[in-house]
């Protein structure tokens, strides 16, 4: 996260490869399910033996004694509808919820976040020197109205995308944050409204940032968990 601050986002998880290296983020939506982005995974039937999610710690690479840290292997990946760029990861066992580990809420189907709502991105990705890259960083971004964003992108905005307004200070997600949450406070609960996806340049000050609009895929999410 560029332009962020150390923070607490108990649903944000770190996805680690077989060498134990963090490479993407995710959001805990059920004790045994994490949402992330397709871009982070080689295929929809990738063998994820040896891949894990790490939760319950603010540190990217915590020491051995971190009390609340949980590391859970991933058992399966399920790809979302083609346009969604979403994936769901099933964990080998449920995460234990506590002060450090919590579920993020899913929005109602096709819910639209009101423009101007201040939401939050979180991740252990690149900070480009703007913050301590060894801890979870959080940054706040205001939602941009759909048609305003579409105009700024010269008509190339898709229905499956959600925008946040660019900030002069250069705030945004970057490499290593992808798959993580754009969380917005609704009815006193943090709701997963967007998922961070790669853009060509991080934290642009002259263009909106794009996220996958989760509310369009909530029916698929529930269907996968039910199936």
């Amino acid at each position: 996260i560029i332009g962020g601050l150390p923070g607490n986002s108990p649903w944000t998880v770190s996805i680690r490869n077989r060498a134990g290296v963090h490479f993407c983020g995710g959001s805990l939506v059920k004790e045994q399910w994490v949402i992330s982005t397709r871009q982070c995974f080689s295929s929809c039937d990738a063998n994820l033996a040896g891949y894990e999610v790490q939760l319950g710690t603010l540190f990217k690479d915590p020491g051995p004694g971190d009390p609340n840290q949980q590391t859970i292997p991933i058992s399966r990946i399920v790809c979302g509808p083609s346009e969604s760029q979403l994936v769901m990861l099933k964990l080998v066992r449920p995460a234990t919820l506590n002060r450090r580990v919590a579920l993020i809420c899913l929005p109602p189907e096709r819910y639209v976040v009101p423009a101007g709502t201040v939401c939050e991105i979180a991740g252990w990705g690149e900070t480009r020197g703007t913050a301590d890259g060894s801890v979870l960083n959080v940054a706040r971004l205001p939602v941009l109205a759909h048609d305003e964003c579409n105009a700024a992108l010269r008509g190339r905005l898709k229905e499956s995308e959600l925008c946040t307004a660019p900030l002069r200070a250069g705030v945004g997600a970057c490499e290593g944050d992808y798959g993580g949450p754009l969380a917005c406070l609704t009815a006193d609960c943090w709701v997963l409204e967007g998922v961070i996806t790669p853009s060509r340049i991080c934290a642009r000050t002259d263009q909106p940032a794009l996220f996958i609009r989760v509310s369009l895929y909530v029916d698929w999410i529930h269907k996968v968990m039910k199936m």
Binding site: S42, E109, C189
Partner: protein, 466 residues
């Protein structure tokens, strides 16, 4: 510090099924795999053993998968260990330990049975439990430098070499040997390799179940970390790992999955020219060692196309990557390179959500065959012709019985994928920006929404951290 298991080849979740039990296998006994290997190695009659994962019992066996009337059988409760010498189709050193089943000479003559005395009479080499002479299989009872041989059934040719290759030559390697799956199990200094599924004498991170695609079988030379050549941990406590001497194939492998505008899978075949990280840092040239020192020297990785400072994936990481020119950021993934589409091209289209689609497409967008709606395997369906009689759930055609907003779908024949969407697209082109967004719900008043047991956090912690 070699393990007795080094003499065995392990097959997971497998059992040997013998039609006849003559001679009968011994009674199972308690013991670790290494303990069983020790007992089997000490017994001339023993050629393999089963290890029951749950009961920790093991049973010594007088046969292998190559024995007559014996076959392999999938069984998740057992691991099968067979003596390597009985399975190898190449030889180590002079091949005097070779116990394979080749029974033809290098010139194609059939071998004479060792017990037979015609057409060639001999009394020197008659089968015994100790010398391994069996049937008419090639053997090397007199440590002949040319390797295993046999008496031939051709009256004019008394005996002839069988021409069995040495293991280091039997299977050649291409590029850096990441695809090498041969049976070489010694290093170039002749030291025996350590098994990948053991953590002694050297602890190591390459557990076979954690890297199922690296072929980390038994103690064979492999290249799981994109080193220059196949290598292994050694059974010498003083030397952790060492390269193996393996012949290089003359022909370069066919280049497959080469892409330039996008990347497929993990992007090992990506040959495009993106050379800036997403946070705007230029990549470091591969032929440079500053600011980051590394071993991916272009000449040593001829198949990886380590040109200029382009994003590449020479070591099987998650995606193309590069060393960066920023001293404090060693490596950055190039996830901003677009992924190549990996879905079937679609012939048919559907209107609305496809709830009235009655076509005959019966494959998912990934090309997996659909499971018939009336079937109960590999997935027990929650939706079937019984539960949804009006939904025209015929054969295994894609349908949308639950009005899924993402289109027709089906249960799949892949046990790991319960259901998936089909290779059919919406009739109004996907991705075309819908000027009006009818799908999106007008903003709901906040009090119209309620959530349960989610989205709560300790806000105080937020401040403490700041």
């Amino acid at each position: 510090h070699r393990s007795p298991l080094n003499d065995f080849q392990r097959l997971r979740a497998t059992k040997l099924l013998a039609a006849s039990t003559d001679p009968p296998p011994l009674q199972p006994e308690q013991g670790s795999a290494e303990h069983c290997a020790q007992r089997c190695a000490a017994s001339l009659a023993c050629r393999a053993f089963h290890r029951d994962r749950q009961s920790q019992l093991c049973q010594l066996l007088p046969w292998t998968q190559h024995s007559p009337h014996v076959q392999l059988q999938k069984n998740i409760h057992y691991d099968l260990y067979q003596k390597k010498d009985y399975l190898r189709d190449c030889i180590m050193a002079d091949g005097s330990s070779y116990r394979g089943t080749r029974a033809m000479t290098e010139k194609g003559l059939h071998c004479q049975h060792w017990r037979a005395t015609t057409p060639h009479d001999h009394s020197r080499f008659l089968p015994s439990p100790r010398n391994g002479l069996e049937e008419n299989y090639c053997r090397n009872p007199d440590q002949d430098k040319r390797g295993p041989w046999c008496y031939t059934t051709d009256p004019n040719v008394r005996h002839q070499s069988c021409g069995i290759k040495k293991c280091e030559d039997a299977v050649c390697m291409t590029c850096n040997g990441e695809e090498y799956r041969g049976a070489m199990d010694h290093t170039e200094s002749g030291t025996e390799c350590q098994r990948w599924d053991l953590q002694h004498p050297h602890k190591h991170p390459y557990h076979p179940n954690k890297y199922p695609d690296k072929g980390l079988d038994d103690n064979y030379c492999r290249n799981p970390d994109s080193s220059e050549r196949p290598w292994c941990y050694t059974t010498d406590l003083g030397r952790e790992r060492e390269y193996c001497r393996i012949r290089r194939c003359k022909k370069r492998p066919p280049r497959h999955n080469i892409t330039t505008g996008c990347f497929r899978g993990k992007g090992e075949g990506y040959r495009g020219q993106v050379n800036v990280t997403m946070s705007g840092i230029p990549c470091q040239r591969w032929d440079s060692q500053t600011p980051h020192q590394h071993h991916f020297v272009p000449e040593k990785y001829p198949c990886k196309d380590l040109q200029e400072n382009y994003c590449r994936n020479p070591d099987g990481s998650e995606a193309p990557w590069c060393f960066t020119t920023c001293p404090t950021v060693r490596i950055a993934f190039c996830f901003h390179i677009r992924r190549c589409p990996d879905e079937l091209s679609t012939q048919e289209c559907y209107h609305g959500h496809g709830e009235r689609y009655r076509g005959h497409v019966s494959k998912t967008r990934k090309g997996i065959t659909c499971q018939p709606w009336a079937a109960q395997a590999p997935h027990v369906p929650q939706i079937s012709p019984v539960t949804h009689p009006e939904a025209h759930l015929e054969e295994n055609y894609c349908r949308n019985p639950d009005n899924d907003s993402h289109g027709p779908w089906c249960y799949t024949m892949d046990p790991r994928t319960p259901f998936d969407y089909c290779a059919i697209k919406p009739c109004c082109a996907v991705g075309q920006v819908l000027v009006a967004w009818p799908q999106l719900t007008a903003t709901l008043p906040a009090d119209a929404i309620a959530f349960e047991q989610c989205g709560q956090r300790d806000e105080r912690l937020q401040w403490k951290l700041r």
